[in-house]
């Protein structure tokens, strides 16, 4: 679990990094530690996997990846590990998860595909289907983005 300093670091870094030469200096000051202490702590949190990465969140549509399809699949349980690995290897797949099923929802695998057009998404899905030898799948295209934001942790 995280100690209070680590939580405070999360609260600072989940916001927008200032676009200045030394963006961590002011943050360290607010936290009451030195810049070097903050960077050391950040490296450690990255190593522990708490910080997944430090970088930019892009607006996919704006940068030209206009189409995104959530492709859902029915994968036999005994093939889950093998199929998951194969699907994840596709560069167009950004996320690949196994999820539970329901009586009116038989799909247990989810892959997110981003591409420039819907046709490209379909082509990628067909490619994956051939590779993993699974025909039970469906593409759910997004018709509208209602919300996209970053989670604010430890604010309660």
């Amino acid at each position: 679990m995280l100690n209070e300093l680590e939580k405070a670091i999360v609260r600072e870094l989940q916001g927008d990094l200032p676009l200045v030469k030394k963006p961590y200096q002011a943050i360290a000051e607010r936290l009451g530690i030195t810049e070097e202490e903050l960077l050391q702590k950040m490296r450690e949190m990255k190593e522990r996997g708490i910080i997944r990465r430090l970088g930019v969140a892009l607006c996919h549509r704006e940068v030209g990846f206009m189409a995104n399809a959530m492709v859902v699949w029915i994968v036999p349980e005994e093939r889950a590990a093998e199929v998951g690995k194969l699907m994840a290897a596709f560069p167009e797949v950004s996320h690949c998860y196994q999820r539970p099923t329901y009586p009116d929802w038989p799909y247990n695998f989810f892959t997110m595909i981003h591409a420039k057009t819907a046709e490209e998404c379909e082509k990628v899905a067909a490619n994956i289907s051939r590779t993993v030898q699974i025909d039970d799948y469906q593409l759910l295209f997004s018709t509208e983005e209602l919300k996209k934001s970053s989670m604010q942790y430890f604010m309660e």
Partner: protein, 162 residues
């Protein structure tokens, strides 16, 4: 679309490089400038412009919510056409909802939900059902993670996505 300009090759190189990660260094933009054979001033200028034009949503850290002790799930809701607007407004108002999309399916509203505990997550789901009056909700927490990363290659002449 608005009057936003097309991305230049230099901007594409910058976005591709920065997605892979800003170095954890006192002057991260100077390090990036060296990698891209440009100046720190130019990098800061380009980033400010890309943010203003809406290509960049945020510059900062991305956390693993599970490692922070949070739990998350994907929910699908079957919303009647005439209730879409009011239901979207309510769902979007929840702080634990970070992504919400309409998709072509009878389960037409898909959103991610993050909460500080399993109990809080279940409370939020019960609340959604109660307030929207919609009981057809799929709670789809990931049970196996095979891939969780998004890196787009925007470099000129490179394959579309890498």
């Amino acid at each position: 679309m608005d009057n936003r300009q097309e991305l230049t090759p230099a901007e594409k190189r910058l976005l591709t490089a920065i997605q892979e990660g800003l170095p954890i260094e006192p002057e991260p933009f100077a390090v990036l400038a060296e990698q891209l054979k440009t100046t720190e001033e130019k990098i800061l200028e380009m980033l400010a412009k890309l943010k203003k034009e809406g290509y960049i949503r945020r510059i900062g850290a991305v956390f693993d919510s599970r490692k922070l002790g949070y739990v998350s799930t994907l929910c699908a809701l079957k919303v009647p056409e005439d209730k879409l607007k009011s239901v979207a407004a309510y769902i979007n108002s929840l702080p634990g909802v970070t992504h919400n999309y309409l998709r072509q399916h009878e389960y037409n509203m898909w959103f991610t939900l993050i909460a500080p505990s399993q109990e809080a997550l279940e409370d939020a789901i019960s609340g959604i059902k109660k307030i929207t009056g919609i009981s057809q909700l799929l709670n789809l927490p990931a049970v196996n993670f095979f891939k969780i990363n998004v890196n787009f290659n925007l470099k000129e002449g490179a394959p579309d996505v890498e």
